[in-house]
Symmetry: C2
Subunit: 232 residues, 2 copies
């Protein structure tokens, strides 16, 4: 399949395998927060960037696990996948195995809020107006980065304005090792697109990766992660 | 492709074409109601039943248009498709061409509510709790059935309890010619599944279609529609 061909191709490109013996966990895709058995809140994340990062990490020799929200992608070969729906499910799946990870990349577009009281029956429409009471979801990235023995922790920031400012703030606030920021307001970049551009930011450094195919972009981002890890 | 094979197969089964020269419009899939550029409210409808009905109507000779929310299906051959996102988009697309239709089947799981004020920028999370103000969406089925020169109008009801009672109420309230009700709380039926069971209800009659493949089910439902139309 195509994944196998990508892995084979990059094997030639990256002669050495800096992540051999390392474990990498990547969250990918959106989460879905149930309103009732039929309706939900979600977002436009396709999971493509997370899955591309999984392949890139595998190419560099890592043992890779994707914790994936509902996406239309099939799991790349040689990669483990845990399927989840909600943010709470995703946190649970991440925490089960996080102590064994060397790198954690939070690439999923985790819903910030869930419905306070999801209904077990389909809600009948009646009133002209309705208020949906939402409550904050757990912050998976912040939970991982607060662990005493934490993996190298990389976050993503998808923004529609002031992208770099927001990302730098998120890097500090959540005490991440690195953050990759993208502007999802630009057409043909980010969510659901096959290409993307990223501003990669860490404490004391920044690297702009211009718009390119997500699989190539993923390989470049993984290289930056590996370089920064060895500088720690 | 598979659709072509299905059409060819059913051509043998249905020697006559009772819908030759007739136009059929079918809405299918979910709608997506934007919260902001990234987040939305949607539902688990896969569009499979609507697309199967389109093929079934085509087999019976009709000229078919699908008005489709975002689904992972490709349009069957010999069928026109209009892509929409929100309920308001769907209503607009339906109304553009509804006066030419002989049959209208509202199979889409249209979101009952949209966000009162969708944000053009990604909403930043901050508060622990949040209220999402919703407002009723236009009722596409009721709008069509209220037209002075309306097509034969068929609705769907996806329920999780009291399925037949709710459906019979919806039939009367929206002045439909027919309604097909299914219980989406049963595993492996309805949303996202390849099979389904339906209770088909009209004024003075009812017909239970037991669980079966959606394409075969669609053909049986179309036959019931054709029979009821000719009895009018």
């Amino acid at each position: 399949d195509i994944t196998q061909r990508v892995i084979t191709y990059f094997h030639h490109v990256s002669a050495d395998k800096p992540l051999l013996g390392k474990r990498v966990m990547i969250t990918a895709g959106p989460t879905r927060e149930a309103i009732d058995p039929v309706r939900y809140i979600s977002n436009h994340s396709s999971g493509k960037m997370g899955y591309a990062l999984a392949v890139a990490a595998r190419v560099l020799g890592a043992q890779v696990t994707i914790v994936s929200g509902p996406v239309a992608l099939t799991c790349p070969s040689q990669i483990a996948k845990i399927d989840v729906e909600s943010a709470e499910d995703m946190l649970k799946a991440v925490m089960t195995d996080i102590d064994k990870q060397d790198i954690f990349i939070g690439c999923a577009a985790v819903a910030d809020y869930r419905i306070e009281q999801a209904s077990s029956d389909k809600i009948k429409k009646s009133a002209e107006k309705m208020q949906l009471a939402l409550t904050r979801n757990p912050d998976i990235l912040a939970t991982v980065s607060a662990l005493p023995q934490r993996p190298f922790t990389v976050g993503f920031a998808a923004e529609t304005s002031n992208v770099v400012d927001y990302a730098r703030d998120k890097l500090k606030r959540k005490k991440l090792d690195m953050i990759a920021a993208n502007d999802v307001s630009i057409a043909d970049q980010g969510f659901n697109s096959d290409s993307n551009a990223l501003q990669v930011i860490w404490d004391g450094g920044q690297h702009a990766l211009p718009a390119m195919n997500k699989q190539i972009l993923a390989h470049q981002l993984m290289s930056i992660i590996v370089e920064n890890m060895s500088n720690k």
